[in-house]
């Protein structure tokens, strides 16, 4: 079964098998045709013989005479003659027969239906033959010139003629051998030709297979190319190249993402390690130790946030994550999300203005997604705004959409920065981050969340402000 899974084997089996069947049928047909023809010839000969034998028999009173020429008569008595005949009365009494005929010929042609009908038979010489018979009434021979002379009663005679089939059988035997020889030769040629044709036809497939095997996956511009590829596999090659391109891009993105993720985690890890090493290498001091532990905890929180965001991105990217939706109070949730940044905003002497009058009391939304998005946007605003800068948070309804606008004093971003602030692990002018613990995936994650719930997220920049506007549709519960 495994062998038959190979296209080559299947094609070879089908084509060669088909050739053999054609050869067998062809040979059989030719053999049958020739045999039929030869038998017909014999039968024709027997029919003629019956005819002239019939004509040769005459009834003379009670006697049956045969008017035969001398050569014919000599032939009848030639023991080597392959032809036989036998005249009998209907009661079986023998009248006249070939001199070489020892036993009786079969009783064929007694019935009208069997007259002139050829049969295979065993000849008295032990060989196979064809025989044909008929019943007839010979002509009356009238020797008197007196027209009133009495005519004898007509007698019916059964005549059977036969011919040795040895010659035909010999010819047919030769024909069989010839056809078998031709068949074997044609089959051999067919096998060679089929193998050659199948091999040539499958050559592009082999090339394709080898190229696929040797083509490294994940390298851009690595394409499969088969010169003079048959039109049947061109779509396969095109599709394959398209897939290779997509796989390369996906792997590259994955690699880049992993590399960036590792990079972003290494920085806080380096800080954590150095802090602990320093503390371990120093003389024990409760205050210094407390400070080290507080820093370690802060770094851990930063890393936890990065990892959490990465996991959320992966879940959203997979497209298989389902999030619960329920009625939320957007302004209340925004306030909750602001809480962790309250102290930091105060430390940075930020002026924060809230405009939540337009916020609906109830909005259908996934609270977990909303919190992640709001937390990232507010965290970014607090971290990136210049010292003593301003932050404005506006919430309102626009048609059926919840519009959240978070603006902050421009930290030095320009229009060109809009091109990459949504890219993962990109942080505009990093000076604004200033080691704030942002991994550069917050905006990317927010955009992914908004896309998931079919909303909109746009960034706007002017000389004074950097603004993120989010428009969210209600999510069906």
């Amino acid at each position: 079964m495994v062998g038959l899974r190979s296209i080559r084997t299947q094609l070879l089996t089908a084509l060669f098998g088909g050739s053999i069947i054609i050869i067998l049928f062809g040979s059989g047909f030719a053999y049958t045709l020739v045999k039929k023809h030869l038998y017909e010839e014999v039968d024709h000969f027997l029919k003629d013989k019956l005819a002239y034998q019939q004509m040769a028999a005459v009834q003379n009173g009670e006697r049956i005479s045969f008017l035969l020429s001398k050569p014919v008569l000599e032939r009848f008595h030639d023991p080597a003659d392959p032809d036989f005949f036998q005249f009998r009365f209907l009661d079986g009494r023998d009248i006249y027969r070939s001199s070489g005929l020892v036993n009786d010929l079969p009783l064929v042609g007694l019935d009208v239906e069997d007259s002139f009908k050829a049969f295979d038979c065993n000849l008295p010489n032990g060989r196979r033959g064809r025989c044909m018979g008929m019943v007839f009434a010979p002509e009356q021979l009238v020797e008197s010139d007196d027209p009133d002379s009495e005519i004898s009663e007509s007698v019916k005679i059964h005549l059977v003629v036969a011919r040795d089939r040895a010659e035909i059988d010999k010819s047919l035997q030769s024909l069989r051998l010839l056809l078998a020889g031709i068949g074997i030769a044609v089959a051999g040629f067919s096998l060679v030709a089929t193998t050659f044709i199948v091999r040539n036809a499958l050559h592009p497939m082999e090339q394709l297979s080898l190229q696929i095997e040797s083509t490294p996956i994940g390298i851009e511009n690595n394409k499969v190319f088969i010169p003079d590829a048959p039109s049947e596999i061109l779509p396969v090659i095109d599709r394959l190249n398209h897939l290779l391109g997509r796989v390369a891009t996906a792997i590259d993105n994955e690699r880049q993402f992993t590399s960036n993720a590792a990079h972003e985690l290494r920085n806080p890890l380096a800080g954590l390690k150095s802090q602990l090493e320093l503390a371990l290498g120093a003389v024990r001091d409760p205050d210094a130790d407390e400070q080290t532990l507080a820093r370690a905890l802060s770094i851990q929180e930063q890393m936890e946030k990065v990892v959490g965001n990465l996991l959320m991105l992966a879940r959203l990217d997979s497209g298989r994550e389902e999030f619960d939706a329920r009625e939320i109070d957007p302004s209340k949730l925004l306030r909750q999300c602001w809480k962790p940044y309250f102290e930091k905003a105060a430390e940075r002497n930020l002026e924060v203005r809230w405009n939540l009058k337009g916020s609906p009391e109830s909005f259908s939304m996934s609270p977990s997604l909303f919190k992640i998005m709001a937390s990232n946007l507010l965290g970014n605003a607090v971290s990136y705004v210049p010292y003593a800068g301003q932050i404005e948070i506006d919430v309102e309804m626009e048609a059926e959409l919840l519009v959240i606008s978070i603006s902050n004093s421009n930290p030095g971003l320009s229009e060109r920065d809009l091109g990459f602030i949504f890219k993962r692990f990109q942080r505009g002018d990093a000076s604004a981050a200033g080691g704030s613990g942002h991994a550069g995936i917050g905006l990317s994650l927010c955009q992914r969340i908004v896309t998931t719930i079919k909303g909109q997220l746009v960034a706007e920049i002017n000389a004074d402000w950097f603004r993120i506007v989010v428009k969210l549709p209600e999510v069906s519960i």
């Binding site: 590399s259 590792a262 990079h263 972003e264 290494r266 920085n267 806080p268 890890l269 380096a270 800080g271 954590l272 390690k273 150095s274 802090q275 090493e277 320093l278 290498g281 120093a282 820093r295 802060s298 770094i299 002018d429 990093a430 000076s431 604004a432 981050a433 200033g434 080691g435």
Partner: protein, 227 residues
């Protein structure tokens, strides 16, 4: 020895700076690329420890600008970028060494000492002047086999003189190499340290190795060898 540390990760920056200061190095630390660049160009640092991903100005840009004016300063890059291509780029830009985050502070210290020795043409971590041994690796000095009880600052001064053995080191240079911007110093603090060093190194006898060149500065050498 004065070191400039440019690193935007505050906990890491603080830890490295504290570790370097513990060994008696003067450290100026900043988390901003532009400020780091300005400091590197304006001050005579022996070593620059430079992060690549910096706010303001990229670490590689800082490095290229420093090397463009051929400033003599050993540079160690500290970065989380571990790809071979990144290392090659960093080293080709003029870095002397490259260390991947997260690293051990002790490894960074070892690499820093190596680079500073290399800058002064010293391959051996132990510098010997007569019977004085200055072990830059273990930060220990011995005179005639006896360990000298030196503070980090005193060892730093001795190390500086030892690395420039036989050369006059100006008081201003010593002051620059021993003190960072955060430290307040008196004008005669260098003389005080030199005196303390002399006392400690000559406590068990032996020839004077730290010499004064009035109006010029100080130098460490063995007069027996010079004679």
């Amino acid at each position: 020895m004065r070191i400039l540390l440019v690193e935007d990760n505050a906990p890491l920056r603080d830890a490295i700076a504290a570790r370097l200061r513990r060994d008696g190095f003067a450290v100026d630390a900043t988390g901003d690329g532009n400020e780091g660049m300005w400091l590197a160009l304006e001050n005579p640092y022996t070593l620059l420890i430079l992060d690549l991903t910096l706010p303001g100005l990229d670490g590689l840009d800082i490095l290229r600008k420093i090397r463009a004016i051929k400033k003599e300063m050993a540079v160690i890059i500290t970065t989380a970028r571990d790809a071979v291509a990144d290392r090659i780029t960093g080293l080709d830009a003029g870095a002397d060494d490259y260390i991947i985050k997260p690293f051990s502070l002790e490894e960074l210290m070892a690499r820093a000492r190596t680079q500073m020795r290399r800058l002064h043409g010293q391959a051996d971590p132990v510098i010997r002047v007569a019977d004085l041994e200055v072990d830059t690796k273990s930060r220990i000095a011995r005179r005639a086999g006896v360990i000298l009880e030196l503070t980090a600052k005193e060892f730093g001064l001795l190390e500086l003189l030892a690395l420039r053995m036989g050369q006059i080191v100006r008081r201003a240079d010593i002051w620059e190499q021993l003190y960072d911007f955060a430290e307040e110093t008196d004008s005669n603090v260098i003389d005080v340290f030199i005196n303390r060093l002399r006392k400690k190194s000559e406590a068990s006898g032996g020839t004077r190795l730290i010499h004064t060149r009035r109006g010029l500065g100080y130098l460490l050498y063995d007069p027996e060898v010079s004679r």
